[in-house]
């Protein structure tokens, strides 16, 4: 039976979810799919985290204790890949699925069946990728950046499956993005003009463009690898007139926008949360939008800042240094706007707000180290050391990851109709906050002292900081089990939540009851000034 939902008599047509496993396999509902994405990404986060714990356990002390160097490289590689493609990106897509239709006043995503396809490709792709770890010859061991020729001529056989896994993930991301763009541009309720859209919607719109522009380029890069490996082409082999450095150019043309793909939706989330708990309108809505757009634009012309040491001509180095530095300006605008939003507000500090404030502070610190890395002559000293590892974990863990956690605490009342336990939430926050800093702050120092990344063993002078970092990693890791407990506890026995679960919350999603009905808006809602951000 197809559902045609009519505004006036939708009750007799509207039905809730089906029962059983098939509900999840066959669903076309944005909430079901959002839920699938979120649980999938949480599972991947735990898997990626366990790999990180293997890394940290091995690095606890100098010397080889637990794993062989070969296996260590597989851990590093798969940790990076799983966290980036399996944990952070799907989590944001899951949030987009849950929130965008509700925030723009639509019943569902624009292309619901394709939505299901985008999700179900992922478990297959990651199943394939993780299974390579158990193959003869081992899994990918060339870093998440898989530079040729280590990933071509010198790669284990499993690289073929890795390549196809990347193709599949790319297809999934592209379809997901097309869906998001079509939903945003096409399904907004009357009166929801572009400059009234919630910031999460805005940031995702721009992120989706980034994804559509760069995922195919990544597909191109792995395709060239496939041909170099199996069909004797010479894209990345100088002996045939190609160039290994060209791989890096193509990869980072994808890779740099990719890191902003992992942070722009976070900017959106944090904007909602800070405004809500400051009980104030978001400061500088339109400059927020323009800042995100400028960051997205700049992200296409800075890629070679990951390649300062490959030996580019001077003019290239200077161009990429200047363009990279420029990103600090729009990002600064965002940081200042958040603080101005808090300024003279009437703040309370529930768990989402705590995570959001920690985001602002720690992300900015990661941004500062990013800016230091952008200074080419000094990057020679930082490049491929733990200073870089510290930089990107500051923007990714207390950055992207904290924003996702904050979003879950913030919207879970809307999703489940139940409120999480505030004290447990706060406990989770403080453990995470302390853990994350113990883990990653010392890495700045080991990096400056000269410890290269991607090594299973290190010289003695790095020992103290590594030990500290490993201790932090275990604290941080195990405090995520508190999160898991909070989630299950909320779903099973949380206290009922109101429609507008937070006092200062604005937006169409809060006009719906909690939990939100299976089909969010069966008839177009009225967009009033009270519910928009602009």
């Amino acid at each position: 039976m197809s559902e045609v939902i009519h505004a006036d008599h939708h009750d007799d047509h509207d039905h809730g979810p089906e029962k059983g496993l098939l509900r999840w396999l066959y669903t076309t509902n944005h909430k079901d799919i959002g839920t699938l994405y979120l649980w999938f990404s949480f599972a991947m986060f735990l898997v990626g985290g366990v790999l990180a714990l293997v890394i940290r356990a091995e690095l606890f002390q100098p010397g080889l204790q637990f794993v062989e160097p070969e296996f260590f490289n597989q851990m590093t590689t798969n940790h990076g890949l799983i966290m980036v493609f399996g944990a952070i990106m799907p989590a944001f897509v899951g949030l987009a699925n849950w929130l965008i239709p509700m925030q723009v006043g639509a019943p569902d995503m624009a292309l619901p069946r394709m939505n299901n396809l985008s999700f179900w490709i992922l478990p297959f792709a990651f199943g394939m990728m993780i299974s390579t770890l158990f193959m003869e010859g081992g899994g990918p061991n060339f870093g998440w950046t898989f530079y040729a020729p280590l990933s071509t001529t010198y790669a284990p056989d499993s690289v073929t499956y890795f390549i196809f896994a990347v193709h599949l993930m790319g297809a999934s991301s592209i379809m997901g993005s097309i869906n998001i763009i079509a939903t945003i541009l096409n399904m907004r309720a009357p009166g929801m003009t572009l400059m009234k859209m919630p910031l999460f919607v805005w940031t995702w719109l721009i992120t989706a463009y980034l994804l559509i522009a760069v995922m195919p380029v990544l597909a191109g890069a792995v395709t060239m690898m496939l041909f170099d490996i199996h069909f004797n082409t010479s894209f990345f082999n100088a002996a045939g007139g190609g160039d290994p450095v060209m791989f890096q150019h193509i990869f980072w043309f994808f890779g740099h926008p990719e890191v902003y793909i992992m942070i722009l939706p976070a900017f959106g989330i944090v904007s909602h949360i800070i405004a809500t708990f400051a009980r104030k309108p978001l400061f500088g809505y339109s400059s927020m939008v323009y800042a995100v757009a400028s960051i997205a634009f700049l992200s296409f012309i800075v890629w070679a800042h990951h390649m300062f040491t490959v030996g580019m001509p001077l003019a290239g180095q200077l161009f990429f240094m200047y363009s990279t530095m420029l990103i600090a300006v729009p990002t600064g605008v965002k940081v200042f706007n958040w603080i101005a939003t808090m300024w003279r507000g009437s703040m309370t500090f529930e768990t989402p707000m705590l995570f959001a404030i920690a985001f602002v502070v720690l992300f900015t610190m990661g941004g500062f180290s990013g800016l230091m890395l952008a200074i080419t002559p000094v990057d020679y000293q930082y490049h491929d050391t733990y200073f870089v590892v510290a930089h990107f974990h500051y923007v990714l863990v207390p950055g992207a990851l904290f924003s996702i956690i904050a979003a879950v605490y913030f919207w879970i009342p809307k999703w489940t109709g139940k409120m999480y336990n505030e004290s447990l939430g706060k406990l989770h926050f403080w453990l995470s906050f302390i853990g994350v800093n113990i883990t990653f702050f010392p890495q700045h120092f080991s990096g400056l002292a000269g410890m290269p990344r991607r090594i299973p063993d290190y010289a003695l002078q790095f020992a103290d900081f590594n030990m500290l970092s490993s201790i932090g990693a275990f604290i941080f890791g195990f405090s995520q089990l508190v999160f898991l407990y909070v989630l299950i506890h909320t779903i099973r026995s949380g206290k009922p939540a109101e429609g507008r679960a937070w006092e200062g919350a604005k937006g169409l999603e809060w006009t719906l009851p909690s939990p939100a009905p299976y089909h969010s808006f069966t008839h177009p809602p009225k967009v009033t000034d009270a519910e928009v951000q602009g």
Binding site: V4, F124, A125, N186
Partner: protein, 307 residues
């Protein structure tokens, strides 16, 4: 930018749950793991087996067939509203953009190699040291006819460069193919006009003709590859010229194959009486795709063959 106000928003069509997507994902996985193990077996010098890939392909095709049939029948029952149709338009548009970016990666590789790597290896420019120190024999010309290390990558015997005399262009395959493909863009446009005029015979005629042109193009392309491999000694393994040449034209050829097939499907639909002047999205999507493939060819013709 479309504003949502013009449509009747009181009707949203949300399709029922369906088995297609998850089976499609499954089929794709069977297909690629099959391909992967075939490739690895072949590389190890064993006789690889195609069976799994074919099963995957069969699942994928079957699901896609059912899925599209379902969408077409839903549309025929009038379930789609203007909003959904517009979502399809956005969807197809951005899908084509993603394809553009896929080709951009390969064009980017071509430009990077031609403009920077080859001169550097020939000892010119900022990084000319690479050439003078490591590859003193290498000569910076494009197409590269003598590879830096011919022992590893055999030199191409010949290239696809255009003939020097204008009269010889008449038999220059890529030129003929350009003419064919450009004409096919025109004929597919005529077919579209025919739909707008509700003239079915004309539609079938022009569409059929377009498909035919597509097939001829592919035939010539195959002929060119045969000549390249058999007579010219230009292969995938002939260094960077062969690599860029075959991957660019090959992926283009693959897209023409897909495009021809899609148009063929539209032809069958036209024969079955589908499409009206108000409702012909399937056809339009196919024709956009076709125009896109055409534009890519023009880029190829200029940058891969002529210049």
């Amino acid at each position: 930018m479309s504003s949502a106000t013009e449509v009747d928003n009181s009707i949203y069509y949300v399709p029922e749950r369906g088995w297609y997507p998850v089976f499609l994902a499954f089929g794709l996985m069977v297909l690629v793991t099959g391909l992967g193990s075939w490739l690895n077996e072949t590389r190890a010098g064993e006789a690889g087996s195609w069976t799994q890939s074919l099963i995957g392909l069969a699942i994928t095709s079957f699901v896609l067939y059912c899925w599209f049939a379902k969408v077409i029948s839903e549309n025929a029952q009038g379930m789609n509203n203007a909003m959904l149709n517009r979502s399809y338009v956005w969807g197809m548009g951005w899908f084509i953009f993603s394809e553009v970016m896929f080709f951009a990666a390969f064009f980017g590789a071509l430009f990077y190699v031609r403009a920077l790597v080859v001169p550097w290896m020939g000892g010119e420019g900022d990084k000319g040291l690479t050439g003078t120190y490591l590859w003193p024999e290498f000569e910076a010309v494009w197409p590269v006819i003598s590879n830096p290390d011919p022992a590893l990558f055999t030199n191409p015997g010949n290239t696809m460069a255009p003939p020097s005399t204008p009269s010889a262009w008449a038999t220059y395959l890529p030129f003929l193919n350009t003419v064919i493909l450009l004409s096919s863009s025109v004929t597919v446009h005529f077919a579209h006009t025919a739909i707008k005029q509700e003239n079915r015979t004309k539609l079938i005629g022009w569409l059929g003709f377009t498909v035919l042109l597509g097939i001829v193009f592919l035939g010539l392309q195959v002929a060119e590859y045969i000549v390249a491999y058999r007579d010219m000694g230009l292969t995938l393994g002939s260094g960077i010229y062969g690599s860029t040449f075959f991957l660019l034209t090959g992926f283009h050829g693959f897209h023409v194959t897909m495009g021809t097939f899609i148009l063929l499907v539209q032809l069958f639909r036209a024969l079955k009486g589908h499409f009206s002047h108000k409702d012909c999205f399937g056809f339009e999507a196919a024709s956009w795709y076709w125009h896109f493939v055409d534009v890519v060819w023009v880029g190829l013709f200029i940058f891969v063959y002529v210049l």
